[in-house]
Symmetry: C2
Amino acid sequence: MKSDLDALMQSKSLDAILVIGNATHNPPMYYLTGGGHVSAATLIKKRGNEAVLFCNDMERDEAAKSGLKIIPYSTYNYESLLKEAQGDPAFAAAIRYKRMFTDQGVHGRVGIYGHTDLGSAFAIFTILQSLMPELKLVGETRDGSLFMYAMETKDEDEVARIRKMGKITTEVVGRVAGYLTSREVRKDEVLLKEDGAPLTVADVKSRIDLWLAELGAENPEGCIFAIGRDAGVPHSAGTPTDLLRLGQTIVFDIYPCEAGGGYFYDFTRTWSLGYATPEAQALYDEVKAVYDKVTENLDLNAPFKDYQQLVCEEYEKNGHKTPLNTPAPTEGYVHSLGHGVGLNVHERPWSGLTASDDNLLKPGVVMTIEPGLYYPEKGMGVRIEDSLWVRPDGKMEILAEYPYDFVLKMKKWKK
Amino acid sequence: MKSDLDALMQSKSLDAILVIGNATHNPPMYYLTGGGHVSAATLIKKRGNEAVLFCNDMERDEAAKSGLKIIPYSTYNYESLLKEAQGDPAFAAAIRYKRMFTDQGVHGRVGIYGHTDLGSAFAIFTILQSLMPELKLVGETRDGSLFMYAMETKDEDEVARIRKMGKITTEVVGRVAGYLTSREVRKDEVLLKEDGAPLTVADVKSRIDLWLAELGAENPEGCIFAIGRDAGVPHSAGTPTDLLRLGQTIVFDIYPCEAGGGYFYDFTRTWSLGYATPEAQALYDEVKAVYDKVTENLDLNAPFKDYQQLVCEEYEKNGHKTPLNTPAPTEGYVHSLGHGVGLNVHERPWSGLTASDDNLLKPGVVMTIEPGLYYPEKGMGVRIEDSLWVRPDGKMEILAEYPYDFVLKMKKWKK
């Protein structure tokens, strides 16, 4: 939680942290400012102190909504900086950082964070490091960074926001199911739009975007709506021109966030419209059985990867390839069981077999459980995913309930 | 244009470029891959050679849509990398980069690019630089980078896509105008929703998001819909709870991009509903006169900042503060005249008084012209903005025409 930041800084021997970039679509900055229309900002927080936010003068009102102390960039006259830097903008920016650090009394080890332009940052911080040899700029890999540890456990307000996104997500999933099952079906089992043209993956996706916008969400990373062979490739987003047909597996993985950037939800169902082939039904039943086994056996404070191990063992018993015995398998069970969800659609805790031992199902964690099986050459794939909250009382609660039907009955079609 | 990349690499003495991150919402990667559902990818391009794209195995189908040569990350076994790195993920990633560079025959000066996680990149590239001292990793500031220069001029396909976004943008602006002017108005001049409740900025924004989604666009950076005092603060996005009232300036600045990330359009109109105060009307007329003067006098290959100079001089004549004589003014004319638009909502050419002399209105440039005047303490602000294409024949074409009415007539209200 955010209140852990000072302790995390201490444990990582950081005297200060520096976060740069926009306030939206930039999780560390969003986390500390609450988002808003603030671009190219600079946040400095010394250990044990409140954060200070530097921003463009034009965005001072937006920045003030963060509740932080605001200092406009114009405090440091850009034209004189540029002159001092002999016209080199990277050098001018580095001098400005030096002034900001000096004025804030920053010294020692400084962690740097932000989802931002890499080239600029690398150029500027290389110069800054040479201008301030007494300072040590420290990069942390995202997955093990201070922010990933702080964000790993959510407070009640954050859980409420994720839960609300879950409600929006499942509402949209329900509308998609309702729309698909009310279609007319052509003789060759292709679904038709209102105007009689075949229904495509692109058509479905544009409805998803529309419904998300209507309900106050956005889709910054798109979504997966993959049918047939595409369903067998876990991160295939689906082919826009593919037609919707009966009796094929459809993997629908949707992970929207609050409009304007913010908290995500992550959810998947696999459907077969009208009927299922016996092979697809068997695959689905296998995935559902493992899903149930995992969700019924989650223990408070257990290492997340123990359940990845369990899932691999179950699937290996049934003859599927898994990461346990096959490096980077391309069919069978090919990914890890789940991940944390918050301001990042993927965040701590991690569940991969190589995840560190401190990825635990601690109170306050919100994580996905998403086993799947994939056979692209057979034209099918199945994944089932919900986002769960590890409650303070140790119960694991699915934040948005939704039925697990595999075959969706078509209202205007009979076998 | 993209075809300039090798020459730009030559002029910047770069032997290769490295682009990292997702394919969407990451302009350099989008530019070279065409976007798509590809995350945490690595692109290496040696000068004079085609680019090579490394990606997660699960995303190989999506990556292949780029038409580039695809190499899955699994070529480099992650578990052995991690072992070699004694469990340090940043070190393991650095070793993988070293292998990729070696296998691709990369040497010399390598420019690094991408909108991505700064902490990870800084950690990894610091190690990589020490592992490969014979290589020189070079960061360029975004605004002067190779990509900004390449992207500055658009080919016909890019212009067509920006034009299409212009059509969508002005369609949405028209719908907003139609919606506002058909509202019932309360005695105190507040607009009402269908249900009789007062209409808020948040209500208008949610309709904007909905209509954008419906038309195939997205709003990754939000939009500005600011009324009264907020209209006087150029980058205030507007206060969600503000009510829509007659006779107040409304600055509506909208800059959506193609759904799934892609090309932007940038557009602003200022309205006063029902009637305008004489002071606001005078401010509007002044801005419109300067807008006309600029757009009628744009010369092919002229430095963009010459027109910023012109606008400042015009406004100073009329007694307004401008950047010409006031550093960072907070009222009057407080920003620069315009900027390029493409995969970045703000890109080259730049028009600020400190912009370098090579920011020219060259054929292929798409740029905004957006003079404005702001008086937050008087509760008003005006900006007029269109995006223009510098055509190969030297004409400056507004890519999406839209009327310049200031006072919008209310259908159900009479003064």
